[in-house]
Subunit: 343 residues, 2 copies
DNA sequence: TTGTACGCGTTATCAG
DNA sequence: CTGATAACGCGTACAA
């Protein structure tokens, strides 16, 4: 290895011209045998296909794209693959698209989506024909850009009525209201929320707002704790300790991720805080482990896989059948388990 | 929307020709301003770059690839993104590559890697310049194919000395031996292993073999339980029940995934089996949650992120500097916690 | 049903 | 340092 190992060169060493010569037909007939089979006499086509296979012919996708202006590539921009909640969606998205020969470019951007212009253009310049984005598009320039070039773009994990782009997601604001209402109905008068990084993160912002609005409307004590660094179990544990020290009257904690809730349960155990007797804990995402925690975690189920599949279908329908992209408001569901109970 | 919304057409509406005209230079100079800046007089270059930016010029990647025979795309084939252990690696891999303007195609193949020829050719035909694959390449035809076309291919998550392809991974066989030896040294005489799907999965096969060989050499009782369906917590729980019923003398269980081990702990709790007093449990992967389980899980740490980063570096070095791909045998480490102890 | 010839937008070559 | 032009491999009018 080392010298002259160019993949394209090797892979595309035999072209339509070679096949045409070998089959004693024109290049047009070869091309048509692959792309418009019904236009070629069956015997001729079969012969060409066979010869092409024997010669190891592979269409050059760059040339194909250049000519046809289609790449069969979809771009996806997500915060990170390191959270199963995004990985699950992308997994479903990718699987569905690959059934139709589409391939997915994946780019991670961290939780701050306010600065993803570069990532978007990178994918677009590389030929992405449509985009999947997590959350709302916050950068006005990006919004203009996508609109100007009519890039088919789907936003997920959120739902905003005022958006210029279709959303296939769920209502973060309403979902959190469901959670807080439930906790309030249980009699909790002072509740804390542990949220993820807020900057450029419309999901977290909506949840915090919903929480604050509800609690304020009831004139109930409340506090918000931002998990700024690592979004993991250790953080949840740490933040619990801070909460306990500075707000000892908190009787329930809303975690905006099951991972954080996991940490809170772990921290509570260490501190000797009984759950749910002394403290109620509620998660978000309904990850697989939630029901196996001690105690089983009350949490909010979100339609991760469904978002991926529906988004893929929408993209396919748009690209293949010119169907306009529609929004879907998907349902979430509060799964009550044993980490919450009446005060 | 609906008609004539071709992304490429819109995005590449202004070409080098337009920029050249506007800047009053030749197209060659425009091209060079972007790709070989040192060959263009600074003032001229700056002017061209500015004009190009104002006109919204974007190079057509298909044309670029067609001419240069480079795509700056890397393909990755992994079992699933739905397991954080793979997602973590891919996340690191992708992040590193994107620093150099590379983009990653991700395709999932399930756990059976014996039939991925189609996936490989799909990625290659789409222009992937190099490949990242999880596990050993089992299909002889695929092996021949990759060798014939000299596709830069890195295999991960395993390490085989007899492989025709470089491995950036760890030794599954030896790692399991470490685990079994440790358990045996603790005095366990009958051990069970819960493994993942075996078909087309060299990692699981190596671990099972290692386990059987060691136990046989000690003439110790042992059994292997294949987790055929879902590779999740519920399965671990279920299989534990089967083990307890049919092999009541088992005093230790090796789980080939922390997720399975999680299920075993959950099942044990339900059955009233005390861990580690009545049963030792050991995991694999050292996922984040392992140390927070009850009891904290003894497990094997694997270098997921490191594999991703090193693989990315190797690919970059191969593509940019013609450096041959080298193998790296990375270390694993047994993390002893409280789910194991002397008999 | 098939063949000819052109153009897609870029980079590489070669001459200046 | 710059310009003119060929070539990359394919799809598709248009002609036959």
């Amino acid at each position: 290895m080392g010298q002259n190992n160019n993949v394209m060169e090797k892979l595309n060493s035999v072209s339509v011209i070679d096949v045409a010569k070998a089959a004693n037909v024109s290049i047009a007939t070869v091309s048509r045998s692959f792309n418009k089979p019904e236009m070629v006499k069956p015997e001729v086509r079969e012969k060409i296909l066979e010869i092409a296979a024997n010669m190891g012919y592979t269409a050059n996708s760059a040339a194909k794209s250049l000519r046809s202006k289609k790449t069969k590539v979809i771009g996806a921009i997500i915060p990170t693959l390191d959270h199963s909640i995004y990985a699950t969606m992308i997994n479903a998205f990718q699987k569905k698209l690959s059934e139709q020969g589409y391939v997915v470019y994946i780019l991670t951007c961290g939780f701050d989506a306010s600065d993803i212009f570069d990532k978007v253009t990178l994918l677009l310049e590389r030929g992405a024909e449509a985009l999947l984005i997590v959350g709302k598009i916050l950068d006005k320039n990006l919004e203009k850009y996508l609109l100007k070039f009519k890039i088919p773009t789907i936003c997920t994990y959120s739902y905003h009525h005022d958006s210029k782009f279709p959303f296939i997601g769920f209502d973060n604001y309403a979902s959190t209201t469901t959670i807080v209402e439930y906790l309030y109905s249980l009699g909790h008068k002072e509740i804390a929320m542990i949220c993820g990084p807020l900057k450029g993160n419309d999901r977290q912002i909506a949840r915090v707002e919903s929480f604050k609005n509800f609690m304020t409307s009831k004139q109930a004590e409340h506090s918000v704790w931002e998990c700024k660094n690592q979004y993991n179990i250790a953080s949840g544990k740490e933040i619990l300790k801070e909460i306990v020290i500075s707000n000892p009257n908190v009787s329930a904690i809303i975690c905006n991720s099951d991972v954080i809730a996991f940490g809170v349960l772990a921290g509570a155990k260490e501190l000797g805080i009984k759950i749910p007797e002394q403290l109620n804990v509620i998660g978000y995402d309904n990850l697989e482990f939630a029901e196996y925690l001690t105690p089983p975690l009350t949490t909010l189920n979100i339609p991760a896989e469904e978002m991926g599949i529906l988004s893929a279908k929408a993209v396919l329908d748009n690209l293949n059948n010119q169907q306009p992209l529609k929004s879907y408001l998907l349902k979430t569901e509060l799964i009550v388990r044993e980490s919450t109970n009446p005060d």
